[in-house]
């Protein structure tokens, strides 16, 4: 077998000697892809199935035993006030983060794409820097900056004549949204800027001849030209934000009083703090379903090709 595979590979280029070898040659691309597909299958795709399977069982974190409980976890969840709270908090957190990340990214991309501006490379570098930081380092920096007694943000607040605030207590949700937006806007900036670079210059020149203002050009040329990339970008940051909770984990751990308890945080706590792997998997499954629904709505609205082109 091994020998015939080698001959098949050698003969792949031209006139194959036998039908057997030709068949082998057809399998070459699959052999080349197999290791990568196997790893993705087991550690990226299978977890989705495994989440659903686990959600039907009562399973503790470090205990090998599991008992079948059917859909109990699902009914248990929707009767749980903390879970309902997490859903509400997530909606605000995701909507706020996505809207702000997109708008900040769009504004920065528009500035960088402005005609005749020099030093773009310098400014772009400054804008991208947050993205090179670990989620944990981002959180630590903001933890210190937002500190009630010694934080620099309260210092700036007093300079502006405002009273120092206990940001992570009284404004916990806006504070974590700001930290998240600071970290994440880079992604929108880069995607939108590269989309803007693809707009033909002639469009702007023609508009200029017609006496169009900069704002008019932005509204009538730039925005319509980047609408598909914009939507793809929004989908991606939505999916990402629904699942991410690293910054909240460090800054507030979901508190105070559940005001920043997003769904991911709730899931992590259920599975790894309260050791209820089955319940945690149920929340995973629900998050997967929401993600798939969002993606399907997007594909339905804009077609598969957009997804291909946009990526």
């Amino acid at each position: 077998m091994g020998q015939s595979l080698i001959t098949a590979i050698r003969d792949n280029t031209g006139s194959s000697r036998s039908r057997f070898n030709k068949k082998w040659a057809k399998t070459i691309p699959f052999l080349l892809m197999f290791p990568a597909l196997a790893v993705m299958g087991l550690f990226a795709l299978f977890p989705v199935i495994n989440a659903f399977r686990l959600s039907l069982f009562d399973k503790q974190l470090l205990n090998p035993g599991e008992t079948f409980v059917g859909l109990d976890h699902y009914s248990q969840l929707f009767a749980n006030g903390e879970f309902i709270n997490a859903l509400k908090v997530s909606v605000i957190y995701v909507a706020g983060s996505v809207a702000l990340q997109f708008l900040v990214g769009l504004a920065l991309a528009a500035l960088l794409s402005a005609q005749g501006v020099k030093g773009k490379r310098f400014f772009r570098t400054a804008f991208i820097v947050p993205y090179t930081l670990s989620e944990l380092v981002v959180s630590l920096i903001w933890l210190q900056m937002l500190d009630t007694e010694f934080g620099i943000i309260n210092y700036f607040a007093t300079l502006l004549g405002a009273d120092p605030q206990n940001w992570l207590f009284d404004f916990a949700l806006p504070a974590v949204i700001v930290a998240n937006v600071w970290w994440g806007s880079t992604f929108s900036l880069l995607m939108l800027e590269s989309a803007m670079q693809g707009i033909p210059k002639e469009l702007y020149e023609a508009a200029e001849v017609d006496g169009c203002t900069s704002w008019g050009k932005f509204i009538h040329i730039t925005l319509p030209s980047i609408r598909y990339v914009s939507l793809l970008n929004m989908i991606m940051i939505t999916l990402y934000t629904i699942n991410s909770f690293g910054i909240i984990f460090v800054l507030t751990a979901g508190g105070p009083l559940g005001s920043t308890d997003v769904i991911g945080m709730f899931m992590w706590r259920s599975a790894f703090q309260f050791m209820d792997l089955g319940l945690g998997a149920t929340i995973s499954t629900l998050i997967f379903v929401v993600n798939i629904l969002i993606t399907l709505v997007y594909i339905r609205l804009f077609g598969l090709n957009t997804l291909k082109e946009g990526a």
Binding site: I28, M33, F43, F46, V137, N291, A311
Partner: protein
């Protein structure tokens, strides 16, 4: 004249944005050289009265962040090696062979990018536990590899497609096979793509936090991010923010450097794969 005014306005806006965006990072470096007592002063000093560079040596050798940095390096380089090795032949197959279901497969690979990493943490823990890979680097490296493969395949496929078929075919005239030409012709030409893929894989693995926090139990295995997180609550380390931020800065310098040196790849890769986090 109006054009001049307009671009002046743009410069002012861009400078303001750059200052606001870069400030927290600069502030981390400022805090990393402040003595402990100066960090508990209000109003805070914008530049330290006394520059305490000893914070860095303390972070490295007394707090043991050197161990964390080495662990992060093992994880990142391990993932990079495995992910690039596996994505290379797969990308070549997708770029240079025709077969049934190729479009579906490409879309499926792209779709795995949309599977949220964090939500998978619970079922992944169960999978690792069954494979006896909890609390091991192998388990983490396999997960990171699965996460970085789609983007790497996508980037490399683009590079292979840009290599003309004639070039590959001409190298096969002397009897060598398509596979051999993969290494003789395609590999050197795809090096920029491999560089971009490698850089991305490294960065994504280096900056991760929740996954190793969940999957690793032994302190001596923690990457720098998890180690730092544990410091925050530590009665001795947690109170000396100067050392804490020196450690954070040490963990940030590698990714900052990579980014500064390879910015072009970074932007290309990020926009090509639309990857995040």
């Amino acid at each position: 004249m109006t054009n001049r005014k307009k671009s002046l306005g743009i410069y002012i806006l861009m400078s303001a944005a750059a200052i606001v965006i870069a400030f927290p990072v600069l502030w981390m470096f400022v805090m990393s050289v402040k003595p402990a007592d100066e960090l508990y002063r209000f109003p805070p000093t914008i530049l330290p009265d006394k520059w305490e560079f000893a914070n860095y040596t303390k972070a490295l050798f007394e707090a043991g962040i050197d161990n964390g940095l080495i662990n992060s390096l093992i994880l990142a380089v391990g993932t990079l090696a495995l992910s690039v090795t596996l994505s290379f032949p797969a990308a070549y197959a997708l770029a240079k062979y025709e077969f049934k279901g190729k479009t579906i497969l490409l879309l499926a690979i792209l779709a795995t990018q949309l599977i949220p990493g964090m939500a998978a943490i619970v079922p992944l823990f169960d999978i690792l536990q069954r494979m006896h890979l909890v609390n091991t680097y192998s388990g983490l490296i396999l997960i990171y590899t699965a996460r970085t493969l789609p983007l790497n395949i996508w980037i490399l496929k683009g590079f292979f497609q840009s290599i003309p078929n004639e070039l590959i075919e001409s190298s096969m005239v002397d009897g060598s096979s398509k596979i051999a030409s993969l290494y003789r012709v395609a590999l050197p030409l795809a090096l920029p793509g491999i560089g971009a893929a490698a850089m991305f894989t490294f960065m994504q693995t280096w900056i991760d936090f929740i996954l190793p926090l969940t999957m690793l139990f032994n302190e001596d295995k923690f990457p720098f991010s998890v180690m730092l997180y544990k410091f925050v609550g530590d009665p001795i380390m947690g109170t000396n923010y100067g050392v804490l931020f020196a450690a954070a800065a040490l963990g940030t310098i590698p990714t900052l450097l990579i980014f500064a040196l390879l910015q072009r790849f970074f932007v290309q890769g990020l926009t090509a794969g639309g990857v995040k986090g």
